[in-house]
Amino acid sequence: MIGRDAALRTARRGGVVTVLALLGLAAIYVRALVFTPVERFQGPAQKIFYIHAPAAWAALVAFAITGILSLLYLFLKDRKLDLVAASSAEVGVAFGMVMLTTGPIWGKPIWGTWWTWDARLTSTLFIFLLFVGYLALRNAVTDPGTRAAYSAVIGIMALVLVPFIHVTVYWFRTLHPQPVLVKPSSPSLPGVMLVTLLLSIVVFTVLYVGFTMQRYALAVLRELKAEEVARAVS
């Protein structure tokens, strides 16, 4: 694990990355709302796609990274891996909230319903709740080693779900649209819309990095303080 000074440096750098990403997000709002054309059949609600899909991307990347780091933790027992995994999980839950609120807001005008219990939506809600449970578990277990091992198991279970969520739209009958970007054939979006989507994915990815750096620094500072208190008591 890194020391206090390094954690504070990581927090500062993460803060800078986050501010840059937030400025990028503001630019995405302007580009999507003002300069990207309205889709003919779905109308203005289609523009929800430019924040919903990148938020879903960021959430699933966060969950996948948590899973991979959890797997590595069980082999290497490096506390740093556990803390980065937990940081990534919390950031993933934040992006998951964006994904799970903007999706139904798009679904109501386009599908005529806020929610449907099909494979894509249900599995997405399931992985989100799994990570809410992951965070609750981390708060409930006090011993760092036990906490890391238990949460690593949940992280690995969730990792299996990530590729499954991607293929649900192919394997099951679902209302959810098929991927427009991550698929074997070329992207099915006109140029201007595709550029807006790609830029938004970049901004959400940078935002994920900035948030995770800050959250990791916070986790390290908390651990150092807990160790300090334990030393003072003993």
């Binding site: 109308g43 203005p44 523009k47 929800i48 924040i51 807001i105 109501k108 916070l218």
Partner: protein
């Protein structure tokens, strides 16, 4: 060209996203400040 009248949903989604992202960024900032 006539489009479906659903701009309210678009505005709601962009507002909700801004609120969640800014709330999380603020939460991180405040939690980190406590440990500095």
């Amino acid at each position: 060209m006539q489009f479906p009248d659903n701009a309210g949903y678009m505005v709601a989604a962009y507002l909700v996203t801004a609120v969640i992202v800014l709330a999380y960024a603020t939460s991180l900032f405040l939690r980190l400040r406590k440990h500095r």
